[in-house]
């Protein structure tokens, strides 16, 4: 615990230091980098220590520091698991951010930006280690504010300001639900401490109420469909290293909150699990379908975060259902799958966002249909993006496969061990996860294919190659190495995930379940190495066959066209069209075109895109209605301090009467 406190201290001290040194930009940036590396190293050491030993350190408590609550923090394996992924990603994104912002020429105050990054780190750590609801809420609120200011860094653009605004409203609505939820729990348990809450038995009715509030409150942060509307706006607009943190960590804190509540309340009615599972299915499938319809690379990645949150939720949902039926195999494996996928997603999404950032910086555009053939020009970034793509599609050799396999495994266990209702839902989830996998592969074939393969689609020259910069490549390469390591040797991370499940369930995971997972994973590794050996054999065979041959290099065959142009290539939009056409009624896929007519054709145009149903048909009407109502109530908030004081007086009088009665 002391290590985490030191880590917090270092971050906290460096903030005023950076601000004080704001005039010396270089020194201030070095302070940022130094404090980041030291803090992350301490944090990683402490979190991995808890996970590998399985013993939680002594809690730290400063009594009476906050009204009603106290500064009470502790790190069980669950917190340690989330801290582990948080520190890994913060380290990578932080170093990248240092390099990314180094040649920023705009008028913004960079030390302030870096201080906000540190503040975000501090409050995220506090959220994860808080053992008191008041402290949790305070840190949660600060996290929202810090993210808001980080998102609106480029606030000279109107859409950035709007994205920040949507984010602020959405997350505050969520916080409102959380406030109600913690009040409900605190009043019932008689304490705001999580430990005391966990001891109080919650009746099923109340558990259902808590679940609904937690689902809304944390779901907004995590980006469950249909609560996700802020996410595809906010993530692409932020500076890249912030996007990576938002997609990799901040939305995972929503998942963390949900898991924390599940570890406190424990027993929920059956429908709660089913709601989670159904949310997982909807978020997963719709998330990837919306991603397919995007033309902008960061927006595509943002929608993929929703898809992966869906996969995580599938694991949580089947775990909750399994718990209701007292089928420990189902619930333990489901929870472990959710935790592991949380970790994996943080790693590969960070990897993808950061390498996309380098692409955007180098080409000065995010439009995929303007890129092409970048693998030759940005080889490092290209190959790292390929590794990220393979991981996020859940393809074998990389970490995504391991966690998706675990989710599948828990669903299959669900098919075996549950009753009729459980079988139907787990089979539906298996089919949905299969669909998600296929669509994700399509989407990343599209993204990688259009950006990095083929010919370049834009005429103008590239601006500058950002790849020579070591600090932009090294952190991304570290994440890629982690993807491969977990994909080939998953034992370590799986047992960490089981430690997390242990502190979630309050009981050690039986050795049988561990073996039921670790044994097969060893066999997976065996098959994968056999596959690699076969590949090498084929490569050798090809070398032998081609050894004597003369190799001819020529243009791609154009089926008789003599002068093919790079514009004739398949674009991202055309690649995704067939599948979007199949699902056109689900994602509102529309193509508008103006076809050139007559003998001397004028300019034509073609527009294709998807529309977010929940944004256009749920939230817009609701918020317009809210706006209308609040316009009508404007007279209450007239802007005069005197009348506000009068309101306070009225309220006091009412309270006095109520008390005296």
């Amino acid at each position: 615990m002391t290590l985490i406190l030191y880590c917090l201290l270092i971050l906290a001290v460096s903030i005023p230091l950076m601000l004080a040194l704001a005039r010396f930009k270089k020194i201030s940036a070095h302070v940022y980098l130094g404090s980041l590396v030291v803090a992350c190293a301490l944090g990683l050491f402490s979190a991995s220590g808890v996970l590998s030993r399985g013993i939680a350190p002594v809690d730290f408590r400063l009594a009476g520091t906050i009204p009603l609550g106290e500064f009470y923090i502790g790190m069980d394996a669950l917190s340690a698991f989330f801290l582990l992924l948080f520190f890994i990603l913060s380290l990578a994104a932080g170093i990248y951010g240092y390099g990314y912002m180094r040649d920023y020429k705009g008028g913004r105050n960079l030390p302030a930006h870096f201080s906000l990054c540190h503040l975000l780190m501090i409050v995220i750590i506090l959220v994860v280690v808080a053992k008191n609801a008041v402290l949790f809420l305070a840190a949660w609120e600060l996290m929202t504010l810090a993210s808001y200011f980080l998102i609106t860094f480029y606030n000279e653009h109107e859409r950035v300001r709007k994205a920040g605004y949507v984010f602020l409203i959405a997350t505050h609505t969520g916080t409102f639900c959380l406030l109600g939820m913690f009040l409900l729990m605190g009043v019932h348990a008689g304490s705001m401490d999580f430990d005391r809450m966990a001891m109080a038995p919650f009746p099923l009715g109340m558990a259902a109420g808590i679940f609904v509030l937690a689902f809304l409150g944390f779901g907004v942060k995590a980006g469950f469909i249909p609560l996700h509307v802020w996410l595809p706006h906010a993530h692409p607009e932020a500076p890249t290293h912030v996007s990576a943190l938002l997609s990799g960590v901040v939305i995972k804190i929503g998942i963390y909150g949900l898991i924390r509540i599940m570890s406190i309340v424990k027993d929920f009615p059956l429908w709660c699990g089913i709601v989670l599972l159904a949310t997982g299915i909807v978020s997963g499938v719709a998330g990837v379908l919306y991603a397919l319809g995007q033309h902008e690379i960061k927006k595509l990645l943002a929608y993929h975060s929703i898809e992966n949150i869906g996969i995580i939720t599938l694991g949580l949902g089947i775990g909750m259902i399994g718990r209701y039926y007292h089928q420990d195999t189902v619930s333990y494996i489901g929870y472990a799958a959710a935790l592991l996928h949380t970790f994996n997603h943080a790693v590969f999404k960070g990897l993808l966002f950061l390498s996309a950032g380098t692409v955007i910086r180098s080409t000065h555009t995010g439009e995929m249909d303007h890129m092409g053939g970048l693998l030759k020009w940005l080889p490092w970034t290209g190959h790292l993006f390929l590794i990220g793509s393979l991981s996020i599609c859940g393809l074998p050799l990389f970490n995504g496969f391991i966690s998706e396999w675990l989710v599948f495994r828990s669903l299959l266990e669900g098919v075996f061990h549950l009753d009729m209702c459980g079988i139907i839902f787990s089979t539906a989830a298996i089919v949905a996860l299969g669909l998600i996998g296929g669509l994700a592969a399509l989407c990343f074939a599209k993204a990688f294919g259009t950006v990095f393969l083929g010919h370049n689609r834009s005429e103008h020259e590239h601006h500058h190659n950002m790849e020579g910069d070591f600090v932009l490549v090294a952190p991304v390469a570290m994440l890629a190495a982690l993807c491969l390591w977990v994909g080939l040797f998953p034992q370590e991370m799986v047992s960490y995930a089981f430690q997390g499940v242990k502190s979630m369930e309050g009981a050690a995971v039986p050795v049988v379940f561990r073996q039921a997972i670790l044994g097969p994973l060893l066999s997976v590794t065996k098959v994968l190495f056999a596959g690699i050996a076969i590949f090498l054999f084929f490569a050798l065979l090809r070398r032998i066959f081609l050894g004597a041959c003369r190799v001819t290099w020529t243009e791609t065959w154009g089926c008789g066209h003599a002068y093919t142009s790079s514009k004739m290539q398949y674009t991202a939009s055309s690649f995704a069209r067939p599948v979007l056409k199949i699902f056109r009624s689900v994602v509102l896929f529309r193509i508008k075109s103006e076809i050139p007519k007559r003998y001397f054709p004028a300019a034509g145009q073609l527009n294709s895109g998807v529309k977010d149903i929940s944004e256009y048909f749920v939230f817009r009407p609701v918020f317009y209605a809210v706006k209308k109502v609040s316009r009508g109530l404007k007279w209450i908030q007239g802007g005069r301090t005197q009348s506000y004081i009068l309101y306070i007086l009225f309220l006091l009088v009412v309270l006095l009467i109520w008390k005296l009665r």
Binding site: R409, G454, F538, T554, T556, C559
Partner: protein, 306 residues
């Protein structure tokens, strides 16, 4: 280790034979003598000795793609039992590895196609990936049904005895699953009515157009990989049909071989009797396969077999 070698040996040697059987059947229906039964092998060796032509647009992905792809299919074969032969590696949940290795193979073929920057290949890649999404969900549903019936999570458990009593109890379910798998097989392996494997030209804008620019050793590997994939899907179907145990290796091998010849002839008959469907009709084949397997699932639930 020995079982690894036997298994890989079978997978390396036999698949092209299936292509020969299909070819002979089609020739019979066309009233021709047709290519020899071993034509698949001749083709592969002929292609292997040719000079390669590469496009200057391409990267290593174009050249390595076929190798990675075929290696992934072969690795998928490691977890699939062949005839009475147990898979060298089996574990609970290996069916997922099987499907995902096939997906890996497809992913690299799609990337290799996009690497050429040709619009034809982009078109093929896009369609291949689209249809794969739909056939994958059918495979998953079918495998979940089989797991439910056989109470086993591994392919070896399902096909080596797990289903032996099911034909008597829920035969119709298995028939539905077999039909559904057969439709998926036609689609995944780009056979008529989905795609025409006879030509590489634009007329068949799905799988075959995806490999338009490949030549020489890579094309040989692709042809072999195709045959191998067909063989693996064939294995699924044949071992479902002959799921009873005889405990006699020779008899089992005989059953299995005859099953394979039967499958080859069935594919040949379908190819002779049907024309290639229009592209938008291909979806209906996949929908049909999915609906068959949903029916099978419902029947199992209603029967309370679970």
């Amino acid at each position: 280790m020995n079982s690894f070698i036997y298994h890989l040996g079978i997978l390396l040697v036999f698949p092209p034979l299936l292509l020969g059987v299909i070819g002979k059947t089609k020739a019979f229906f066309a009233g021709r003598w047709g290519p020899p039964l071993l034509q698949g092998y001749y083709d592969i060796f002929k292609l292997g000795r040719k000079q390669p032509v590469y496009s200057v647009t391409t990267n290593w992905i174009f050249r390595m793609g076929p190798m990675i792809s075929t290696a992934a299919i072969l690795a998928a074969g490691i977890v699939l039992p062949i005839s009475g032969l147990k898979a060298p590696v089996q574990f609970g949940g290996d069916m997922i590895l099987f499907v995902y290795l096939l997906a890996l193979s497809r992913f690299f073929m799609v990337l290799a196609a996009l690497d050429t920057g040709s619009s034809f290949e982009g078109m093929g890649a896009s369609r291949e990936a689209t249809f794969a999404c739909l056939s994958e969900i059918t495979i998953f549903l079918n495998l979940a049904i089989l797991a439910l019936l056989s109470k086993s999570l591994s392919l070896s458990g399902i096909f080596l005895g797990g289903l032996s009593s099911s034909w008597g109890q829920v035969g119709p379910v298995l028939i539905l699953v077999v039909v559904s798998f057969f439709l998926v097989l036609l689609c995944e392996n780009s056979r008529i009515p989905v795609d025409d494997p006879e030509t590489h030209l634009e007329l068949t804008m799905i799988h075959e157009v995806m490999v338009l620019d490949h030549s020489a050793a890579e094309l040989a590997l692709i042809v072999y990989g195709q045959a191998l994939k067909l063989f693996l899907f064939g294995c699924l179907i044949v071992s479902m049909i002959f799921s009873f145990k005889i405990r006699n290796i020779a008899a089992e091998a005989a059953f299995f071989t005859s099953g394979f010849f039967g499958l080859g002839i069935a594919i040949g008959i379908v190819e002779s009797a049907m024309a290639r469907l229009r592209l938008n009709r291909v979806l209906y084949v996949l929908y049909a396969a999915f609906i068959f397997s949903i029916f099978a699932f419902i029947v199992i639930l209603v029967r309370g077999h679970a």
